[in-house]
Subunit: 103 residues, 2 copies
Amino acid sequence: MLNVDPPYYAVIFSSVLKKPSEEYLTMANKMEELAKRQPGFLGIESARQEVGISVSYWESLEAIKNWKFIPEHMLAQEQGKDLFYKSYSVKICKVEKAYHFPL
Amino acid sequence: MLNVDPPYYAVIFSSVLKKPSEEYLTMANKMEELAKRQPGFLGIESARQEVGISVSYWESLEAIKNWKFIPEHMLAQEQGKDLFYKSYSVKICKVEKAYHFPL
């Protein structure tokens, strides 16, 4: 649960793998750890079945753009397209309201 | 992949179960089928590991509000709190940009 009130931003990354692999998991975990160290990072939630969904939360659109262009992340994006993902979608969102149970 | 261009809206529902159960799966599947029949529904993506993440996409905030108050859905929300969920978050978002691989 995020300890910030909206508005903030979310990146919804949903993906289908060519096939599961150790290499993919290593890359994905590394990118998650790297994202957590970026300015403006607020949190991340991930789950995978047929589709993988990772939602990362950010203070601003600028923080998201800065993360997009971190060199290690750019390399991972290229590897993702070449090696790992059959398909993916990235959606950049403004979180307008949030509520939680329990409060 | 959604065949609509932003802006549209997303509901990010992330949840932790008390414990997995057939009853929960039945309820969750039923709600997904019901959501798909609502006006303004655009699509849904779901995955579950420790955390479950379901992202549903909608044409408008009004469509989201209408879905929230469908009687069967209200009953499921109550059952969710009473029986199934240890915790959950709902985030209402405006999708401002979306891109896809492959194009």
